[in-house]
Symmetry: C2
Subunit: 366 residues, 2 copies
């Protein structure tokens, strides 16, 4: 065909989709709506304080949001003991991962991640022409930090990705382990420490002594219940912020999200309640698994991986759940692709899931 | 300094900011708020129908939006006589321009634009390592289509940018002229036809017979009054949509924006009212200029360029207006950097501007 042709590096990319949307799965399965336990969205919605602020400000959605997110960055700086100039706000962690890869990984350079960890990192590494090297999870879903660091050193990786707590396994590496890991990386490698689920971890358990080689990414999508608003931020250095400022979409973050995020930060009581309820839900899922004769992977997030022993059974369970109107996902790579990953819902949603899953797990065993 | 270093191509980029935000200008000038006539935001807000839908759906902002924007793309397809597979939804035209440049301009290849036209296109060309060639405006603010096409052919440009109606000049090239221009470009060049302001032009005056080499970008930021929501779309081919699908942020568009856009499309009466009021406002600005002994550039948008004859006077007027609490912008490149660009506000905003500008224009003449 004549006509415009994609740039060669882009033309060579595969057409992949990191996630099939629940809306599309619902259409395929012939359901009007699904029990949404697949995307680790918060079942508890946004803070009522944030909601009120967003509703109040919607008539001014004709105005662009502040491209520098000054107020929000000041609030985040106070919250995290940083300077505003060490913080970048973007349209969720997906956006930040793209900026980190584009900013710090030249085409042909090596990035290291865990095989089957959050796929959008891999999406960006491929998309920007990097080489991706992946280290498998341990059988219990823990990230193999020593092997990850060793691989990064051996291959002179320029970007290393660690999600902690991890998605999709839910596993958590201790403060000391992450601090040691960050220190064991090549000096010129950027560690992207994806802490999307950090709000579910007691603050004292999070790493503290991290050097300027670490970029921590956070989001309002999980404990803050604002996934649909697309807003996240990175805690880095003035250098990383400046690199991002050279390439980010200046008006990439919508105004309502910025306003909601600011008020969400202030409503600590609400977030603490969500975190407590999520912990209850995790315990419930653990008890459910036990009743069904299943194991779960240890989780410090708002989801739990149920171990179905084989990939085939996990895939079968996923399919059976979808048929019954339940949307969950599963890890994509061994050894944890034998699991299904279930978001902690509200108490009624958990009860509904327990009932349907008992039936499905019974089938899976036969 | 040791530690992570930006990829060389990114490190070499200048730290530029296409636009200083009104929030920052207000802080600098010591005003709590400015009369916002500088960013071509709609003074008439979003449609009440869209507003109601967004307010209703905000409690579900804990859910991700549909990454495929299926419903919205179907509605847009019906509206524009296209297939949904020929439409990409993204976080505003800024996002789409980045995808077009990244997708179709390999590093080192040439893109052509008008000198001083919408700067985010140039931002992306530089950011992705392209070479930018720019053709000046005519003295009256019209885009020199013949020179643009000739330059594109001579330099084997792979991407050509035309904003029509143009920003910041406001000028409009006729349907026949744009159709001839698109046909005169190199066969393998992508024409990015930025139609952010097309809603202010009678539909019959817009180009219709365009080939598959044209990607038209549209937005909900202007006539639809949803700039802060960050949502726009491109009308292309299944090929361009597939290229964008390889590299776009899958969850880049927030849920509330998608829902608002869908209902905004249905509220034709509201948009028609905005367009009519904007036309009245343009005429008022024309009359104001005449009273002040000034010319304006012809505009088919929601803004008007007032001709202050020299760059120095235009800069002085911008500064004087800001001191008095009025935010406007000015074109950045000759020959139209002798103008200031003023968004059409509401009737009271226009009256306020007229009063302050009369004072400022008087000063500028002395």
């Amino acid at each position: 065909m004549s006509g415009p042709k994609a740039a060669p590096a882009i033309a060579a990319l595969p057409l992949t989709r990191p996630f099939i949307a629940p809306e599309e799965l619902a259409r395929r399965a012939g359901h009007a709506e699904l029990l949404r336990l697949g995307a680790n969205e918060s079942a508890f919605g946004p803070s009522p304080v944030a909601l009120k602020a967003m509703q109040r400000e919607l008539p001014r959605t004709s105005w662009y949001g502040d491209p520098e997110s000054v107020e929000l960055r000041e609030a985040l700086a106070a919250e995290h003991g940083r300077a505003p100039g060490e913080i970048t706000v973007a349209a969720g962690i997906d956006d930040l991962l793209g900026l980190a890869v584009r900013g710090y990984l030249a085409p042909g350079e090596v990035a290291v991640t865990t095989l089957g960890s959050y796929p959008t990192f891999a999406y960006h590494v491929n998309g920007y022409g990097g080489k991706l090297e992946a280290v498998p999870y341990a059988r219990d879903g823990r990230v193999q930090l020593d092997a990850l660091a060793e691989t990064a050193r051996r291959l002179h990786a320029k970007v290393v990705y660690l999600a902690n707590p991890d998605n999709p396994s839910g596993s958590f590496a201790s403060r000391a382990d992450v601090e040691a890991f960050a220190a064991a990386l090549p000096e010129d490698a950027l560690l992207v420490l994806d802490e999307a689920y950090a709000d579910f971890v007691p603050a004292g358990d999070l790493p503290a002594n991290l050097g300027p080689n670490v970029l921590r990414t956070r989001t309002f999508s999980k404990a803050f219940g604002m996934a649909g608003a697309r807003i996240g931020f990175a805690l880095g250095t003035t250098q990383t912020v400046e690199v991002f400022d050279k390439i980010r979409l200046q008006y990439g973050v919508n105004r309502t999200a910025q306003i909601g995020a600011l008020d969400a930060l202030r409503d600590r009581e609400f977030t603490a309640g969500v975190v407590a309820e999520v912990a209850r839900g995790r315990a419930e899922y653990g008890a459910l698994a036990q009743r069904l004769g299943l194991e779960t992977l240890a989780s410090q997030t708002n989801f739990v991986c149920f171990d179905l022993c084989t990939r085939e059974r996990a895939e079968g369970a996923l399919e059976s759940l979808l048929t019954r109107g339940v949307f969950v996902r599963k890890p994509g790579a061994p050894p944890i692709d034998r699991c299904i990953r279930v978001t902690v819902g509200t108490a009624p949603e958990r009860a509904q899931f327990a009932e349907i899953f008992a039936e499905v797990a019974g089938l899976a065993r036969t």
